[in-house]
Symmetry: none
Subunit: 252 residues, 2 copies
């Protein structure tokens, strides 16, 4: 499967925690992005991060750079990510959903770099100066700082959104609703059980039947379930039948 | 900011890694969900997880349960999450974007539980039997298994997503769905009737219970009807009880 994200480069700048680098790799792999670049990772041993579960190859193939400039050199569009709260923004700021659409549109024809900053400080002004525009995940103002791995996951999800390359989950066709006659049979069987067990009194049977019919219709029983429910009620009624004074003909 | 997600309960079932529980809490807080529930966490010390950065209070207030049934008892809509790859699905399966819209529409008026399974195994069939439907994040078929904290983050993002421009789903005012504990009571009562009447054999009770639970969920019983159905089944069971060999203590 090609995800259409071959040209996307996820660039982690000054990432501190190797677990987050691994987690970013995993999320990229989940959504079909393959090319990870790291700039000055805090821990050189990030390549073995266990959090990259299922994405060990992608992580092993990560390209390492000493500067943002080098890491984005071959890209035509450079997008920085930022927590919503930052005030000193010099760049156009787009929400993830708008920004992801632009990235999606660009990525088939040109290389796009998506930058994430360090866990503690985000991207520096220096880093941001390489960016064409910035993108932010809309979070609560009071708690806008996301975990790095989670931020990458949310961005990958949104960028990969509705791309044709991604498998479309089969929508389970809605099952056919039971036919009226089956529903009516269930009603009759249940009414019988309620009559025998004394829930419904003979003088109120008619009203009860109407209410019961409406209740059963509200359940919108599907066809296979209707057959099962009939079987259940038949069995219950058969058992109850042994108690029904009208049917009881026990030899004494 | 009120996020409108006050009624959302995120339920982590058998979560193994406390870091993931903390990460889930952080993502919830980022997107405005507040109520975390955990069922049998593998590590009891999860409450101090440092990964909950900025969401320590939310994590400290997490409610702990011994079973899925208890954890979802007060919820009217129960949604399970699953990796796309699973084949044996008995439930309607929705993509995150469709499912999130339904959750968003439900959550202002009723409590919604969103279940996540353990890191290794996901939700069990037993867990799934409590769910009305399932939701999956569309990932690559070859690598569909997401990190738990990242899966929670992506789901929170999509559920919290701005409502603007979203198609309006059905306008018909729906009656409030029965709470999970009421639905579960109906399941238990019907199972009892089926056991006494011989429809369910002792050695197959467990499988029957799962199937029955799913069938009952498919009916999407409304709240007033749930009370009526319970009353009916109690009466039927009371009558059947007189026939139950275990209860029968006839004087001779």
């Amino acid at each position: 499967m090609t995800s259409g994200l071959e040209h996307l480069r996820v660039v982690l700048v000054d990432a501190r925690n190797p677990l987050n680098i691994g987690a970013a790799a995993r999320a990229m792999s989940n959504f079909g992005a393959r090319r990870l670049r790291v700039v000055n990772p805090y821990e050189v041993a990030f390549r073995e991060a266990r959090s990259a579960m299922g994405a060990a190859k992608l992580l092993a193939a990560a390209e390492e750079y000493n500067s943002v400039a080098e890491a984005i050199a071959d890209c035509s569009l450079v997008v920085g990510t930022t927590a919503g709260g930052r005030r000193e923004l010099q760049h156009p700021l787009r929400t993830l959903s708008d920004g992801a659409r632009l990235i999606r549109n660009s990525v088939p024809s040109c290389k796009v770099a998506l930058l994430f900053g360090s866990e503690r400080f985000g991207l520096s002004n220096q880093d941001l100066s390489h960016c064409h525009w910035l993108m932010t995940v809309p979070t609560r103002t009071e708690h806008s700082s996301m975990n790095l791995g989670q931020a990458v996951a949310v961005c990958m999800y949104e960028i990969a959104r509705s791309r044709k390359g991604l498998p479309i989950v089969d929508k389970k066709p809605k099952k056919r609703q039971a036919r009226a006659e089956e529903v009516e049979r269930i009603t009759t069987l249940l009414l019988e059980a309620l009559r025998i067990s004394g829930y419904v009194q003979p003088r109120t049977t008619e009203v009860a039947e109407e209410k019961l019919r409406r209740l059963i219709r509200r359940l919108q029983i599907e066809q296979p379930d209707a057959a099962i429910l009939q079987g259940m009620l038949r069995q219950i009624n058969w058992k109850l039948g042994n108690l029904d004074p009208q049917k009881e003909r026990k030899p004494r």
